[in-house]
């Protein structure tokens, strides 16, 4: 079975799951930063925050202890890269309350194919949000 699945938005949209049950702890907690080095096992697009585009979520298996993490990368339009299952990635992010038993990591930095992608700043501010010109309404979170 070919596990190198190209991330094509149309196909990816088919694997979008239902809205994940969020927990109140699902935010970028600066006190809970971790670093994971592992292999991408599954790629999906999931609606993570109300009113926003689906997020790219990677299921990453840690190379050290084979533990699985659900890595929340960014809105799919922001991380516009052709990532495949089986590829090695290094993720720096914050442990957050996830939808299931699988721990969730909100990624701040993703290193992949020798490149580093900065997704958030050190406090967790999303890079795709731009500057002060882009005003948006408050995102509801934690009350799903």
């Amino acid at each position: 079975m070919n596990n190198r699945v190209a991330l094509i938005p149309i196909l990816a949209a088919l694997v979008v799951g239902p809205a994940a049950g969020q927990t109140v702890g699902h935010f970028y907690d600066v006190d809970k930063e971790v670093k994971i080095e592992g292999v991408v096992r599954q790629i999906s697009l999931e609606p993570r925050y109300k009113g926003t585009a689906p997020f790219l979520v990677l299921s990453v298996e840690d190379s050290r202890d084979a533990k699985r993490y659900s890595v929340e990368v960014s809105p799919s339009w922001f991380f516009n890269q052709d990532i495949h299952g089986g590829e090695k990635v290094t993720v720096v992010g914050s442990l957050a309350g996830g939808p299931g038993e699988v721990p969730t990591v909100i990624a701040r930095e993703v290193r992949w194919r020798g490149e580093t992608f900065i997704l958030r700043d050190k406090r967790g501010f999303p890079s795709w949000q731009g500057g002060p010109q882009r005003k948006r309404g408050i995102r509801r979170f934690g009350s799903f």
Binding site: V30, R123, G124, P132, K135, G137, I138, G142, S143
Partner: protein
């Protein structure tokens, strides 16, 4: 004033004032920022107090934490908000940005406030404690945007930059103008100095020439008289030589007269004149002196042009110009035109001769300057003196191979 002095007295003080203005503006900006921050902080603390009371009230009523936050939310200025229990477990939170809640629970101290720099601008954050009626304690974490303040400071900074730019631009334009004015003034001063020196030199030459002429003319008169007497008594075979001697003496006398007239000041006796009469008189004099060349002369004048001046002197000046033109062109016509130009009178004398080289055209009115073998360099100089004594101007233009034209401008009557 020299350029260096202009720089010292004008540019340096301007730059000093500009630097002082910039420094004052910069310090003013810093002070404004500090004061505004304090003001905004106080205002946000007051807003946070109100929000805290609202949240306490909602919790007292038994509203769940998530609904409490939802109900308490107000305005676009709130970037994030979190409700924590007494053990600092997050009960509910909201954020304008996905997953962004920049709270370090390890470091946070209740009652503390601070300013967080985020890519979206400065955020005023505060962690405060609230106790509801049943005694339970909560923490409320708030983050307000300070974009209004930043916009105001940015506007003030932009205004200061714009003002500085305008001052610099105005200064640059002013000093450019000043330097140009100074350059023009310097050029005029140099010209005036050269003219003064020239006049002084001319006065010296005049005095010398007048003296020499006076000293020569007396013996010349005696010599002419003596030759006349000898001619009466001389035998016929020597009369030819004596006639030649007499003629040579007359030539010397004429040259001395011309030199004398060149150095004498011109004092016109002004009367009302008709330009046509003046030009015709000049043409008549020219015909009398040089009948052959006068056939090439063509005079055109608008009728009824009146001017005030000394007729004899003006005729003399024109005659000199005509002789000069005729000598410059051996067979081509010499044209004289007279016309009115607004309140002035214009006279043009044109020849179709070989023209005057550019290096010589600027010197044609200088005394004793000539390019002709037989000339003395007095005719054009005298013409200029006469025209200027009438309050007019004279200029020469020439193109090599195409001829020369002299333009006289005189005040009209």
């Amino acid at each position: 004033m020299k350029r260096r002095n202009v720089f010292l007295f004008f540019v340096l003080p301007f730059l000093g004032v500009f630097v002082f203005f910039s420094l004052a503006s910069f310090l003013g900006q810093a002070d404004l920022k500090k004061r505004t921050e304090i003001l905004v902080r106080d205002q946000l603390l007051a807003t946070a107090d109100i929000l805290r009371v609202t949240v306490s009230h909602l919790l007292d009523e038994g509203t769940p934490p998530d609904e409490t936050l939802e109900s308490a939310l107000s305005g676009e200025d709130l970037y994030f908000m979190a409700l924590l229990d007494a053990d600092r477990n997050i009960l509910a939170w909201n954020s304008r940005y996905e997953g962004y809640l920049p709270l370090s629970l390890r470091e946070a101290r209740p009652g503390e406030s601070g300013i967080i720099d985020s890519p979206a601008g400065k955020i005023f954050s505060e962690l405060s404690t609230l106790t509801i009626k049943d005694g339970r304690r909560f923490h409320l974490y708030l983050g307000y945007t300070m974009s209004g303040m930043e916009e105001m400071i940015a506007l003030s900074r932009r205004t200061a930059f714009l003002l500085s730019g305008l001052i610099l631009l105005a200064g640059a334009l002013f000093f450019r103008g000043l330097f140009q004015l100074q350059s023009r003034f310097m050029a005029k001063a140099r010209e005036a100095e050269a003219e003064r020196l020239e006049k002084e030199r001319f006065r010296e030459i005049s005095a010398f020439t007048s003296g020499v002429a006076h000293e020569i003319k007396n013996p010349l008169n005696s010599l002419a008289l003596l030759l006349e007497l000898l001619l009466r008594k001389a035998p016929p075979e020597t009369r030819g030589n004596l006639e030649l001697g007499k003629s040579q003496v007359r030539t010397i006398a004429r040259i001395v007269d011309r030199f004398s007239s060149a150095v004498k000041p011109v004092r016109p006796v002004a009367t009302a004149l008709d330009l046509g009469d003046v030009l015709r008189l000049a043409a008549g004099s020219f015909a009398a002196e040089d009948p052959e060349s006068s056939t090439r002369l063509c005079v055109e004048v608008e009728p009824g042009i009146r001017l005030t001046g000394d007729g004899d002197l003006l005729v003399q000046a024109l005659l000199n110009l005509l002789k000069n033109a005729a000598e410059a062109s051996s067979s081509t016509p010499v044209r004289v035109e007279g016309r009115r130009k607004k309140k002035k009178v214009e006279i043009w004398v044109r020849d179709r001769g070989p023209g005057i080289p550019p290096q010589a055209i600027t010197r044609v009115f200088e005394p004793f300057y000539t390019t002709k073998e037989k000339g003395m360099g007095i005719g054009l100089f005298l013409a200029k003196k006469i025209v200027e004594a009438h309050g007019g101007t004279i200029e020469a233009r020439s193109r090599e191979g195409e001829g020369t034209e002299f333009r006289i401008e005189l005040p009209g009557a």
